[in-house]
């Protein structure tokens, strides 16, 4: 028994030593570690901040009405909640600093305090009420207003169809909209769920097969804005981009009228050859070029492909060199996409490139 008691005392003494030892040495360690962590944070925040500032397609760099409302809401909500976060951090730092040196005999034995607990239940409740009010208010402000510019969007694996039915054309992966007019789109999907998102214009809305959703916003700043599919939709979800260009109403009207025209007649020698070649090979079974015999609807409409900025839903920028690469092996650029390799001699590939680039 005595042995056990001695052993216990020795163990207890060791524990005290460990505690004391931990006190001396670890104060240096704690400072070093705190500095290390604090510095990683400062670097992270700096990086994040610089990266975030005035970049595209940044949610915090709005160019449309809806994105503006949402940014305001985000700032309001984040500001309120940061106060909570910083309070927690300050309290944590305080209890740590005060508590590490306290001997056990001085540890208090309080088990609760009803008044304090009520206070820190009610304060979060109040904060939640305020946040909820702000949320509801912004949600109502974003409800869909009457639209003057209207088109349909259909999400496909892995490209975006823009259908201007009343104006008589379809295009793909690129759409122009006039600034300062409300845009209203009907959103559908041809196969699986996709999500239509232009971060600088507003929030995203899913395109769900069997259902028609709607999106509405008013572009406020002219420019070119990136859009992305934002719901995992299969192997090429990562390269299902599109571009929305905000232009003056005059430019918009001109674009719409031009898009309604059938395909341009090719003029260059190679382009003419390409124009004669293309309907004779497989292209027309998937693609449409209005004014020719190619009427496929499975793949993007190519009638005015030459005036678009991207290939394969912006998997590549539209240049003749890139288009040649795409035609030679679309699977190398966008593995798993729906366009098969079509083996052709180089000469014919170049003719096709020339033709497609003349389809402005």
């Amino acid at each position: 028994m005595a042995e056990g008691g001695d052993k216990a005392k020795r163990e207890r003494g060791e524990r005290e030593d460990v505690r004391a030892g931990a006190g001396r040495g670890s104060r240096r360690h704690l400072t070093a570690r705190t500095l290390l962590v604090a510095s990683t944070w400062v670097i992270m925040l700096a990086l994040a901040g610089t990266a975030a500032a005035a970049s595209h397609p940044n949610v915090l760099n709005p160019a449309g009405s809806a994105a503006h409302e949402i940014r305001t809401l985000a700032i309001q909500v984040f500001s309120i909640l940061s106060v909570v976060l910083v309070t927690v951090w300050i309290l944590l730092a305080y209890v740590i600093v005060k508590g590490r040196r306290r001997p056990e005999s001085k540890a208090s034995q309080t088990s609760g305090n009803l008044s304090i607990e009520i206070v820190w239940t009610l304060i979060p409740a109040l904060i939640v009420a305020v946040l909820f009010f702000l949320t509801v208010r912004t949600t109502q402000q974003l409800s869909l207003p009457v639209a003057s510019v209207r088109f349909d969007v259909v999400g496909h694996q892995w490209w975006w169809e823009f259908d201007f039915g009343p104006q008589g054309f379809k295009t793909a992966n690129e759409v122009l909209v006039p600034d300062d007019r409300t845009v209203y789109a009907d959103l559908q999907a041809a196969d699986v769920i996709h999500s239509f998102w232009v971060p600088q214009m507003g929030g995203k809305v899913d395109t769900i097969p069997g259902r028609v959703n709607h999106i509405s916003f008013t572009p406020l700043i002219k420019g070119t804005f990136l859009g992305e599919c934002s719901e995992f939709c299969g192997v090429q979800h990562a390269q299902m981009r599109f571009v929305m260009k905000v232009v003056t109403p005059a430019v918009y009207i001109a674009w719409v009228q031009h898009q309604g025209q059938p395909a341009a007649t090719p003029t260059g020698a190679q382009a003419v050859a390409g124009g004669q070649l293309m309907p004779t090979i497989a292209c027309g079974s998937c693609h449409t070029v209005r004014g020719t015999t190619m009427h496929g609807t499975f793949a993007p409409d190519l009638t005015h492909f030459g005036s678009r900025g991207g290939i394969g839903a912006y998997a590549m920028v539209n240049t003749p060199a890139n288009l040649l690469k795409w035609l030679q092996d679309p699977q190398a650029v966008k593995p798993g996409c729906q366009m098969p390799r079509i083996p052709l001699p180089l000469q014919q590939q170049q003719e096709l490139v020339a033709y497609l680039e003349e389809l402005k």
């Binding site: 056990g4 008691g5 216990a8 524990r15 505690r19 962590v37 990683t40 992270m44 990086l47 994040a48 990266a51 975030a52 970049s55 397609p57 949610v59 949402i70 909640l81 909570v84 927690v88 309290l91 944590l92 209890v95 740590i96 508590g99 590490r100 306290r102 001997p103 056990e104 540890a107 208090s108 309080t110 609760g112 305090n113 304090i116 607990e117 239940t121 939640v128 909820f132 702000l134 949320t135 509801v136 912004t138 949600t139 699986v192 769920i193 998102w197 971060p199 809305v205 097969p209 069997g210 259902r211 959703n213 990136l226 992305e228 934002s230 995992f232 939709c233 990562a238 912006y314 593995p335």
Partner: protein
């Protein structure tokens, strides 16, 4: 005298069998807990490896390290593994080990079912991973939205493997939940009320209800997906009247409570660790318990916040935003209570407390970004971007994983008798903290900069390159810290500093026994008068002259002059039956993936092993005081299980009604004849009456009447099934006959399956009762419990039929 008892039992512990056979046949909750923990850690390493593959691919745009197909499998399996094969097994493993110890019990209420739960989990995980070898694993994300998951868009078997594996995992989890609930309701040590259980046990108790009510929704969803993929049903096929969005409702009704399932036990660990290392009792214990319940309850009311962008009605979105924000209140209260616990305490910064503080500092960021996303318009920007990826990892790593680390550093001495190396632990903590911060905090920025999630590459000229590179570097640091953790475990298990019974001088019952505890857990229990029995004992011992509260238990007992309760050694019962039942389920599962012949073999094997299980000689580890209860723990467990199955049928019925609302042409009343089924219903109702009187007869010990009425119940039930079969044969459409066929066959089919299981149960009960009568035992408590259980189940099946009948034939 008491020391002699303890020494003798430690010797007995060393003689416990250790080989593979011992581990395959164990029913000891502590060994099962260790199995769960080791399995969880093994899958953790797999999932971390997958994370490293992804982060390497994303170092810069246009990397060809992984093909898109590979990347999609990796991100899908990473998520599924982390949720179902790491986090859940770790938390359930800790709970398995600790709950019986914390409540002063010898084991769980159903030790064999406990083992079965583990083997189901292991086999489910192995089956899931086998998909890599059979045409590719799941590649549609851990929440797998339809219709991408239908065979038209996902022809290979990965999705099917996922559905079947999840069914195995879910079954194991639900069995575990029933086990925990019944154990804690019925087998607490004398003097410990439900409210006095340690908070980790309370958290597990509440968590078990979440598992019980959430998983059936997943089961319903994956059953429908499996049928859509392989039997031509059209639940999620929009071309045939199905509704893709219904998958999301069903999945997230499970999925959101699932993340609370992953955090409630973590909060429980916090409430154990923070007080002990602050040398101060938990502040606001009552409110902590209430808030756990509030979080659990509210967790079922928020699922559609994952669907804000799907175009649901605004009012619905706004309500879900409100309920989602409400959860911030109980969570905030808990954070403040932990801070208040530390306030005025004497903080001892061992590794567990470091992780606890890390949780308070960093989990709160995740909580805040969660509330931001509850704000619907902001979510419309943040949803499906890296902002969400940052948020979810923030709460899961700085929440669940930090708490798991804290718990393991805290309880490792109890489980192995050795400390984890604390210096390595502290270094690991800081490395994890730094690694986590560098990996995941930039993701919030990336999300705001427009980067979507689940992308194998990204556009090279939009400004995302630097932060992705930084995040990937952080991931390497974080992964290293995890390897360090594993290293600590492996080396400390062998050569760590020896720990005694109560090395942390803690206050709950798991510390009132040896490290590790013997089979049966305790040889002596202190009197239980408060939530901190060991604190009370230490205080009494101090008054009696023993100042060291870390002294051996018997020393404290002697100094305190407490007689306590002496408990004899518990003989170990080992059986291979749980393992083989799991094998049976695995065969059934494999058959569903290949050919139904294997399913039939598996089913037959199951029946055989189940018969062996139910007739093998088995002594319940703990006796119930039946004077205080209306029905035995067997009956109770069936009632709990029925709660779970009710949600399964509710999910199927809800799906049916949803489809009705969106498809005017879908009408059972219009296309089905209700007369025959209505008559058939009489069979089932009469059988329910017979079952009731059979139960009454058994209670009154009128065995002849009992036998007769039982046979009548079975005959009428069989007639019902026969009638169903006749109806199926004369319907004129099969499973692939369209929307009505899909809903009709699933509702009546799953109900019929439940009836057949019930018939099996009743038949078995008949033979068991006859065997006892032959042995002149009269009515035994065990069989009485089974009679209760079988009758409740049968009444449940009756009640469900009424609901199914109305929905299928009259709507």
């Amino acid at each position: 005298m008491s020391d002699v008892i303890l020494t003798a039992d430690v010797a007995a512990e060393a003689a416990r069998p250790q080989g593979l056979g011992a581990w395959l046949t164990t029913t000891d909750h502590k060994r099962i807990g260790v199995l769960y923990l080791c399995t969880g850690l093994a899958f953790f390493l797999c999932a971390v490896g997958m994370a490293m593959l992804m982060k390497t691919q994303l170092i810069r745009p246009g990397m060809h390290f992984l093909t898109p197909e590979q990347y999609d499998q990796v991100f899908s399996m990473h998520g599924t593994t982390m949720v179902f094969l790491f986090a859940m097994p770790m938390l359930i493993g800790l709970a398995n080990y600790l709950v019986p110890l914390q409540i002063g019990a010898k084991d769980m209420a159903f030790p064999r079912m406990n083992a079965l739960s583990y083997w189901m989990t292991l086999f489910g995980g192995l089956l899931l991973y086998s998909s890599f070898f059979f045409g590719g694993a799941l590649d549609t994300g851990w929440f797998s939205y339809a219709p991408l998951t239908l065979t038209a868009y996902s022809p290979h078997d990965g999705v099917t493997f996922w559905t079947i594996s999840l069914a195995l995992l879910g079954a194991g989890s639900i069995m575990g939940a029933v086990n925990f609930i019944v154990t804690m309701l019925r087998f607490r040590a004398k003097g410990m009320g439900l409210w006095q259980m340690p908070i980790f046990s309370v958290a597990t108790f509440i968590n078990s209800f979440l598992i019980l009510f959430a998983f059936p929704s997943l089961t319903a969803a994956i059953a429908m997906l499996y049928l859509d993929r392989h039997y031509g049903t059209v639940f999620f096929n929009p071309a045939k009247g199905g509704e893709p969005i219904m998958w999301q409702h069903l999945f997230w009704f499970f999925g959101h409570p699932e993340v609370y399932i992953l955090i409630l036990p973590a909060f429980g660990v916090m409430s154990e660790v923070v007080p002990v290392f602050s040398r101060k009792q938990l502040f606001g214990r009552s409110s902590m318990i209430v808030m756990l319940g509030v979080i659990g309850f509210l967790g079922f009311l928020v699922w559609a916040h994952h669907m804000f962008a799907t175009g649901l009605p605004t009012i619905f979105n706004v309500v879900m935003a409100g309920t989602s924000m409400l959860i911030a209140i109980p969570t905030g209260v808990k954070i403040f209570n932990w801070l208040a616990t530390m306030w005025g305490g004497a903080l001892r910064f061992k590794t567990p407390l470091l992780f606890a503080c890390g949780l308070i500092a960093l989990f709160t960021i995740g909580g805040i970004t969660g509330v931001m996303q509850a704000s619907v318009p902001f979510d419309w920007q943040a949803e499906d971007t890296y902002f969400i990826v940052g948020h979810l990892h923030n709460v899961l790593i700085a929440g669940t994983v930090f708490a798991v680390f804290a718990g393991i550093y805290y309880w490792f001495p109890k489980v192995t008798g050795r400390f984890l190396n604390d210096r390595v632990g502290k270094f690991q903590f800081w490395l994890t903290l730094v690694g986590f911060s560098i990996t995941f905090l930039p993701m919030y920025a990336l999300g705001m900069m427009g980067m979507p999630r689940r992308v194998y590459t990204y556009a090279p000229n939009v400004g995302w390159n630097t932060l992705n590179l930084v995040s990937s570097i952080g991931a390497y640091i974080l992964a290293t810290s995890f390897l360090l953790f594993i290293y600590n475990i492996v080396t400390s298990a062998r050569s760590g500093e020896v720990a005694g019974e109560n090395p942390w001088r803690a206050w709950t019952l798991e510390w009132a026994t040896t490290s590790p505890p013997p089979h049966g857990n305790f040889r002596w229990l202190p009197p239980i008068r408060s939530p901190r029995p060991m604190w009370d004992l230490q205080q009494a011992a101090a008054k009696g002259g023993e100042a060291d509260d870390g002294a051996p238990l018997m020393t404290l007992a002697a100094a305190a002059g407490e007689a306590g309760t002496v408990i004899g050694p518990e003989p170990e019962q080992s059986t291979i039956a749980p393992f083989f039942v799991a094998v049976g389920f695995l065969l059934v599962a494999i058959g569903l993936l290949s050919t139904l012949v294997v399913t039939a073999i598996g089913g037959a094997f199951l029946l055989l092993v189940a018969a062996v299980w139910m007739s093998q000689h088995w002594t319940e580890p703990m006796a119930e005081d039946m004077s205080r209860h209306r029905f035995s723990f067997m009956g109770l467990s069936m009632l709990v299980f029925i709660g779970s199955e009710s949600v399964f049928f509710a999910a199927l019925i809800a799906a049916d009604i949803h489809l009705h609302i969106h498809n005017n042409s879908l009408s059972g009343a219009g296309h089905l004849h209700a007369t025959f089924p209505a008559i058939n219903t009489l069979n089932l109702v009469l059988s329910g009456v017979a079952a009731h009187y059979a139960q009454v007869s058994y209670r009154r010990k009128r065995i002849g009447a009992f036998n007769g009425l039982l046979v009548l119940t079975v005959i009428l039930g069989a007639l019902f099934i026969g009638g169903q079969a006749w109806e199926y044969a004369h319907l004129g459409f099969g499973l692939s006959g369209g929307l009505l066929a899909s809903t009709f066959y699933t509702l009546t089919g799953f109900h019929g399956l439940h009836v057949m299981c019930g018939l099996g149960l009743l038949v078995f009960l008949f033979f068991r009762a006859r065997r006892e009568r032959r042995l002149e035992l009269g009515t035994s408590p065990g069989t009485s419990g089974m009679v209760d259980a079988a009758t409740y189940y049968w009444h449940f099946v009756d009640a469900v039929w009424v609901a199914v009948f109305i929905v299928v034939y009259l709507l």
